[in-house]
Symmetry: D2
Subunit: 170 residues, 4 copies
């Protein structure tokens, strides 16, 4: 994982952090390559349709949903590997629900049907309920299991992004 | 979570959150905190099970698969919005296939069944075929449509990560 | 497709309709093979957990959701193949949304989290909105395209089953 | 939609809706109307595109994949509810893999990309491996758990349909 600090002069079309030029003082001295995984914002920017919602907010919400879906899928499997799996049944179940609902919500939002306020609002509200339930359950095991702590963070970040988008729609 | 501190001079089209302008030497720049969305590597690191494969490689592959799945979902919708949609039917269809197959492969790899070499190899090979087909088709429209150019990049990055993992399994 | 009437003496464990014995009068004269696809109700019946909701209603809803998800996936592809695809963009988009949301809702209900009334209610309500929107759009093209007529039926059946379950929860 | 009129003498464990008893000759039997949920074959028949593969075989395979995906999702949850969950970890994991891979394969086949022989063959082969692994594991628990017996049946039926389609492609 990356932990460096650097000065970047991005080029047009770059999706940070991609091939930044690191400068020391007033001139570039080296370039380092970092892989940009998600391209959601770039996709939003190049979508030909008119988008009624803020594209940056929409992209951040989709990324948070996708990240939460993946984190919950991984947390479910990690819980399943714990010795005390029998005490983690509810956490596994909620992780699987949250993974499915967040994944479907991300796909829906990626289709720019976000303009259909009622439909999007209803799905975001349902998704928020699952994220809160799953996050609360993960938090109960955060002390004992790091993967549950990370899962709880992913759920919280996802719920926050979703609620920000909800506020923009309503 | 992964935090990077950038001092950047943003250009139009960069997908970075807005941030306050601060001084750095003699330049006006922006200092921003970027929170990495995906937590895949952290999840891998906190998984209690023994993992036969390199966790970093596994995490990078999962992230590439998830990013490709999302990019293809978005590209399919962008293609659907283009005036010449009738010329993009194959691209839309392949985008949807690639989104589904990459998404399922990411979930499978997240379950650490990666140790089951034959099963994982077969799915990664099938996924690689879809990524190549989808990437080739997207590339044919990359000049005309930026979202197809980005989609092609996502497919290429995903195929490369998958092949690296395949090499590690075989 | 099948339209025959016959007399069946099922064997223990059969999920109708599977390999029935057709009898004429008081003795078996022929056996015909029909494929039993969904096993949802059997799975519900053999689930060890206590289920707060009626298992038959739950199973019928899951089957309607799964069938709607599949029908919408197929309708989207059929629309994409139509000469007038440009007039079917909204239908394709709604079909894809409906396929994703119904699929995720079916998985959620299959996890017997149905006992969590609030969460299930919110997702069923969101799902109902997508089914209605998709069904209405499909209906607009039902005269011109049989696959849209069938898609509209699938959405209606799914919405009805979901609302029946909603009534049982509330 | 598919309607069949059965005159049946049900046994415990049959998954049929309750129905009024009526007389047929000298036997007490039940007359029931079963509404087929899936509309896959109808969708195939109304798809405007030329399909290189037999539509009936394609529809049966898609239905078997969808049914297997649903059965495995339900079996994973049922296993998770069993007292001896710790002995069912592998079964749960394989159920979840099988559910995801079969679901994605069903969507891919629904898109009539079946004409792309290499891509479809590779995905069907990967899917067959997961179905066999999952079916074998479920079978090991079939005596102890009916849901595993049903899951094993669903995997076997899915693998058989997939192999029949594979033979038609190759």
């Amino acid at each position: 994982m990356l932990h460096q600090t650097f000065i970047v002069i991005p080029r047009r079309g770059d999706c940070m952090p991609a091939a930044p030029v690191v400068a020391s003082g007033d001139k570039a001295v080296m370039a380092i390559e970092i892989e940009a995984t998600m391209r959601t914002r770039e996709m939003m920017d190049t979508h030909p349709a008119q988008v009624s919602l803020d594209r940056d907010l929409l992209a951040r919400t989709v990324d948070a949903l996708v990240a939460c879906s993946q984190a919950c899928t991984a947390c479910a499997d990690a819980c399943l590997s714990e010795e005390m799996v029998s005490e983690l049944r509810t956490c596994i179940r909620l992780n699987l629900d949250c993974a499915d609902i967040c994944g479907a919500t991300a796909r829906m939002l990626s289709r720019h049907t976000g303009s259909h306020a009622d439909r999007t609002r209803a799905q975001l509200q349902a998704c928020s309920q699952v994220c809160r339930s799953c996050g609360d359950e993960c938090r109960r095991h955060a002390e004992a299991h790091d993967h549950c702590r990370i899962g709880a963070e992913a759920c919280r970040a996802c719920d926050e992004a979703g609620n920000e988008l909800l506020a923009a729609i309503s």
